[in-house]
Amino acid sequence: MNLRESARIAVQGIGANRLRSALTMLGILIGVGSVIVLVAVGNGSSVAVQKQIEGLGTNTLVVFRTRGGFGGGGGFVNRATNGTQSTNSQLTQKDVNALDDKTQAPDLAQVAPVVNASVTATYNGATYAPSQFVGTTANYLQVRNYTVAEGTAFTAEDVTNRTRVALLGQTVVENLFGGQDPVGATVQFNGIDFTVAGVLTPKGSNGAQDQDDVVIAPITAVQDTLVGQTTPLSDITIEARSRGAMSDAADEVTTVLLGTHHITDPTTADFQVLNQATLLATASSTNSVFTVLLGAVAAISLLVGGIGVMNIMLVTVTERTREIGIRKAIGARKSDILGQFLVEAVMLTVLGGVLGVAAGLIGSRFRIVGVTPVVAWYSVALAFGVAIAVGLFFGLYPANRAASLRPIEALRHE
């Protein structure tokens, strides 16, 4: 008996018990659909994190101060120098100047010193505390991929001249100005007047951090007014010459800073060079674990759907025992009966799979728990393929049972 004949009989069998077939298909539909949606959610969050990191600047290296080489990061300034450190455990302008030297570090394109400050901004009675207040040089904008939407960016002259100007992120503008044009207005940060030079183009918030909740001002002005001249740098943000030169650049930074800090053993370095590319790799490997977990949970529901198929096929075989007997009496071979029931099981899962793919694609169009799902086409192919495999696997036992029935016993069955 050929496939077409088996398919025709299978359609008849499925049509004879519409509700039952529909419920069985629903199991597969949910399995396939959830594989697609959950993998899309995992994938979507991975894409979001990737964008977030890329938003920081893809060629970016960040140097943080650490204490005696033990982890820990960032901008915890104003700490007493660790006594066991040789001379200079802080990041200073001297380090910046050394890094800016093209003969020592040819793979660095831009070097921007950063001081962070904790400020409260007031304007016309409105107060707001931005989550990030950055004092830096003009090239920071380029390194961090910030652009100015209104007004103008501050320049190298502004830094040299210690001009009290500031660039505001969109979130800060909304909280302080609520609709008014901020460019040219005077805002107080901790009571010190700064003129708003421009507004940054929104980068959007992506999960962890609102990138628009930021104020950027010339480092010299910030040191004059908010943090003090002697306060060390929070970090040094560096742009490498190209993406390919990232690891060379990181090596050069390490060599230069070991020199300026008079450290001979690299394992005792009092700073850490954070490579955006490494960060990206770490984040995406974390995310792929997450995606695999989500996919595995969904795969279990697909398995459960498969058990549903097997269950229904066993019932069908029992119900149609007599028919199997008739078919065998008029010349059906074992393989004919096996094929007939196998095709019916696979047809159930294929139909369920097709509907599941449709449901999955539709479901992936909505935002789910704050993530915009991104459909991974491999998951569609995989889910559909597994659905067919599930039909074959779970259909095989009932079909084999049907095929092995002895004709006289099958004919006697009521």
């Binding site: 008739i326 009496a329 071979r333 004919l411």
Partner: protein, 234 residues
């Protein structure tokens, strides 16, 4: 004398039911020649149905030999037995045994499907068989839409569509009223007249009266074997 179409030699059939072994057939010897119309009679439990199952290759004898059209069926495997049932035997059952939710034409086509006949030829042959039993106009009806007599005629069409060597009918009129019984038996007569070999199992003597030869079974043994009319007698 032509060579016998089927030969049973010292056939025994025992069923093992736990400790007890029940003998359903004991030392049955039977030759049927091409063109014969044999009625097998016997009370319930006499072994008629067991004989029918063995003749139809649905079951194998415990011992003894069964040769059908020159083939010893005890030497065949499952696949070959399926092919023998498909090509050499046409079944008619007491309870019609049409495949449900499948119209008369499709039912008659089924043996052709398993024989691998192409769809166009299949439909032609099935239609011809239905016309022969007078059901040409009911071809598209499902079994549930046919009367008992019509269902049995469709089953008869299915039994002959492969041009089998032998038609095996197990109490074909057992579930039919008098009128339908007459119709079906008339058809069997026609088939016999057309030269087909028929083995019919019944416990009704007026049904057996139509056959050319009557074999009586009792307690698993053949107790009598008589030719009763000139028709088909050798």
């Amino acid at each position: 004398m032509s060579r016998p179409l089927l030969v049973l030699e010292h056939v025994d059939k025992r069923y093992d039911a736990g400790e007890i072994s029940v003998a359903a057939l004991r030392d049955v010897n039977l030759d049927v020649t091409r063109g014969e119309y044999v009625a097998v009679m016997g009370a319930s439990g006499s072994g008629k149905s067991t004989l029918m199952n063995i003749l139809g290759c649905l079951d194998l004898p415990t011992s003894g030999r069964y040769v059908l059209a020159g083939t010893d069926v005890r030497l065949l495997d499952d696949t070959d037995l399926a092919a023998v049932r498909n090509r050499l035997i046409g079944f008619v059952f007491q309870s019609f045994n049409l495949v449900p939710r499948t119209n008369a034409l499709r039912n008659v086509e089924l043996p052709l499907v398993y024989a691998g006949v192409k769809p166009r030829e299949r439909a032609e042959r099935a239609r011809a068989a239905l016309d022969l039993v007078g059901l040409g106009d009911r071809a598209r009806h499902n079994p549930s839409e046919l009367s008992g007599g019509q269902q049995q005629r469709a089953a008869l069409a299915r039994a002959i569509v492969m041009n089998p060597a032998i038609i095996l009918a197990d109490e074909p009129t057992g579930n039919l009223d008098t009128h339908s019984t007459a119709e079906v038996l008339d058809l069997m007569d026609d088939l016999h007249d057309a030269g087909r070999t028929i083995v019919l199992i019944t416990h009704e003597s007026d049904v057996a009266a139509r056959a050319s030869r009557v074999v009586r079974l009792s307690d698993g043994r053949i107790v009598s074997d008589q030719f009763q009319t000139a028709r088909g007698a050798v």
